[in-house]
């Protein structure tokens, strides 16, 4: 699907969410969720579009978009690795894992590698405390990880598609 068509399809998803709430201003967060799922991040063009459609001022939308940790205004890498930094994970060795990731992939919380292959994020708590330390690799939870396992799994994740 060429770019215009796919953009158009994604724009339809956003419209659908706004229509579901009757284009009222309180649908803003649900709409931003749809934009992020469809486009991977909240780009300015979409923010302006949603501002127009829901009649919410631009500055207010930007305020909401930057308030919530889940939303991101930067394009994401092809693969995302989310490391849980909840209490249970933290005391089971998250600092060591963070430094291992920094050494091997040169990225810290919120960064994306230059080759745009990997985005590294941290999450407050993904609720898998029974498997601390836990990590989510492209949506799949990996439990009881160690620095070595993390480096290996991320490496395989970002290199397996070449």
């Amino acid at each position: 699907m060429n770019d215009a068509a796919s953009k158009d399809k994604r724009r339809k998803l956003v419209d659908a969410t706004m229509r579901r709430f009757g284009h009222s201003s309180y649908a803003l967060i649900e709409t931003l969720h749809t934009v992020q799922e469809a486009y991977g991040y909240l780009d300015d063009e979409n923010l302006e579009y949603v501002s127009e459609a829901l009649r919410v001022p631009l500055s207010k939308i930007y305020g909401v978009a930057t308030f919530y940790h889940f939303f991101t205004l930067k394009p994401q890498g092809e693969h995302t690795a989310v490391l849980c930094t909840g209490t249970a994970c933290y005391i089971k060795g998250v600092p060591a894992i963070l430094s291992a990731i920094k050494e091997n992939f040169g990225v810290e919380d919120g960064d994306t590698t230059e080759d745009n292959r990997l985005s590294m994020l941290t999450a407050r708590c993904i609720g898998s405390c029974g498997l601390a330390p836990a990590m989510v690799l492209d949506g799949e939870i990996a439990g009881q990880v160690t620095p070595e396992i993390v480096v290996d799994r991320i490496g395989r994740m970002i290199h397996n598609d070449t």
Partner: protein, 549 residues
């Protein structure tokens, strides 16, 4: 729909289940799913077909059984066998001797304290029903409590039942549920709302997730009963964006409940109508606070506003609103079914009923447990929890997350309830219980929680946004061995200012982890400050002397 009709559906379902000799239930809650329990389930189904035992064995998913440490978990209800750490390749062996003796190497004793010492109320059906099939829920007297309330009880009677049961809010504050319901009931307003707070922002707490994934219907039923009691017609479940599986299960459950007319217009043929919508959180711990949650549902930045007025009078879009936690709603239908007196007979004098705790950290049996209020910490950590990993020395247990405190060894025999936890400077919180051994440094733990509060502060009021940043900087100095006793005094003064002048609970309780670690582990602070040493060897002490007072 009359009770006979939905009982019939339940029974039909139960009969179908019993028509099989063996029901193999595979735990499909997020923790086990992340250990490939879905693959185990597929493999088992394949094996049952290959060993043509299709009419003899039935494989189905089920909710969380609690012991995440040895997931994926499987129960076979014919011979009460419980398997742990099951891999897909174990499937042939399990199916092969389904009729014979259970497979020894996979077996977990079901009589061990972890299971025996629990009293299940909120987690009653978890692990016994398939969360994606309403029939299973109906087979276990599902929605009967709602039906009884709608047909035989006045809203006031429902509220009195809650008052008599002594149930208190499970979100952390412990506000009496009956009192809150009667306030919303009395509030004047042509439109009222019920909100289920499933934001569960406390790191280390995962009971709400597990309940939503394992038994979503009991939450829906609890909300419907609450709505009937306070006179609300519309409900929201505000759930974290980080729980995709729980959202999927809850959405399916709401659709099924609507189809069976337990939600929507004229529920079960009565004049009462109530529908429920899901609202996604987007990663903001402060949105666990009621007024911030309301602002978030209204599509705004999740910043709290001063109370009073409380949401019970002035809530969502200015209408009276009842807000309760997931676990609170999960307790409603058991109370209606088993009676307020039965519920009030469990627990202590002022903290009634049971509490679900999420055991994590340096403990062998990590997972979910539901225990009566009044149980001691020692029983939880050493008997149910199976003691410290690798036999290391117990140091402290942290309850209440970033608003709670660290409880040392000398209080292990303290009864766990709202009042006693407050006395040791902690709070019940949502129930996260992180066990720490000698390898954890208390200054580092305090710094970790302050870092959490600093980055989750909404920034609206100066004491919290600046206070937490200042306290974090001071804790950083201490953990780097660059601090002086003057800095420790500054830290304690800031704790007092932030706790007393902050607008909402986040700021008001952000000092608790610091105050409780200073109170019980002051020697560790002094070691970092005076001896420039970290006893647990966690903090990186820099030896450059800073030219300070």
């Amino acid at each position: 729909m009359t009770p006979e009709e939905f009982k019939k559906i339940g029974e039909a379902h139960q009969k179908k289940r019993e028509s099989f000799n063996y029901n193999i239930n595979v735990c499909t809650a997020a923790a086990c799913v992340s250990l490939q329990s879905e693959k185990v389930k597929e493999e088992l189904i394949k094996q049952v077909k290959e060993q043509n035992k299709k009419d003899d064995c039935r494989v189905s998913g089920t909710g969380c059984l609690g012991l995440c440490a040895s997931g994926p978990l499987i129960t076979i209800n014919k011979n009460k066998a419980l398997y742990g750490g099951v891999k897909p390749e174990d499937a042939p062996e399990i199916v092969k001797n389904i009729a014979k003796k259970p497979v020894k190497r996979l077996q977990i004793p079901t009589d061990m304290p972890f299971f025996a010492r629990q009293t299940k109320m909120a987690l009653e059906h978890c692990g016994k029903t398939d969360p994606e099939v309403i029939g299973d829920y109906l087979a276990k007297e599902g929605y009967e409590a709602l039906y009884n309330c709608l047909t035989t009880m006045e809203p006031n009677e429902v509220i009195d039942m809650m008052v008599k049961s002594g149930l208190r809010g499970r979100g952390g504050g412990g506000y009496p549920v009956g009192l809150k319901w009667s306030t919303v009931h009395k509030a004047v307003g042509f439109k009222k709302f019920v909100i289920c707070n499933a934001d569960e922002g406390d790191p280390g707490a995962f009971m709400d997730r597990s309940m939503l994934e394992s038994d979503p219907h009991s939450i829906i039923e609890g909300m419907a009963i609450g709505a009937y009691a306070v006179g609300a017609s519309h409900g929201y479940v505000y759930i974290r964006g980080e729980y995709p599986l729980a959202i999927k299960r809850l959405r399916a459950a709401i659709r099924q409940a609507e189809r069976q007319n337990f939600l929507g217009k004229n529920i079960c043929g009565t004049p009462f109508s109530f529908d429920v919508e899901i609202r996604l959180g987007a990663g903001a711990f402060v949105c666990g606070e009621e007024t911030a949650l309301i602002a978030s549902i209204e599509g705004k930045r999740g910043t709290p506003r001063p109370r009073p007025p409380y949401p019970a009078q002035f809530g969502l879009w200015g209408h009276p609103t009842l807000i309760n936690n997931v676990e609170t709603f999960a307790n409603i239908s058991p109370i209606v079914r088993k009676g307020a007196d039965y519920y009030a007979s469990i627990g202590t004098e002022r903290s009634k009923g049971t509490k679900v705790f999420a055991l994590a950290g340096s403990i062998n049996n990590t997972g979910l447990i539901e225990v009566p209020m009044g149980i001691t910490l020692r029983e939880i950590v050493f008997e149910i929890g199976g003691g410290i990993v690798g036999g290391k020395k117990f140091k402290a247990v942290q309850t209440g997350g970033p608003s709670g405190g660290c409880i040392p060894e000398e209080y292990l025999d303290m009864k766990v309830d709202y009042e006693s936890l407050a006395q040791v400077g902690s709070i019940m919180g949502s129930g996260g219980m992180i066990v720490m051994d000698e390898t954890s440094c208390m200054v580092d733990v305090a710094k970790y929680f302050m870092d959490f509060c600093r980055s989750e502060s909404c920034g609206k009021c100066a004491p919290c946004r600046v206070g937490t940043a200042q306290m974090y900087n001071l804790l950083n100095l201490i953990s780097q061995g660059k601090a002086t006793m003057h800095d420790l005094a500054l830290l304690e003064e800031l704790c007092d200012v932030v706790r007393n002048t902050s607008l909402c609970g986040l700021g008001q309780t952000s000092a608790n982890p610091v105050l409780s670690t200073i109170r019980f582990f002051r020697d560790e602070y002094l070691a970092h400050i005076n001896d420039k040493k970290c006893p647990a060897g966690v903090c990186a002490i820099e030896h450059k002397e800073e030219a300070v007072l």
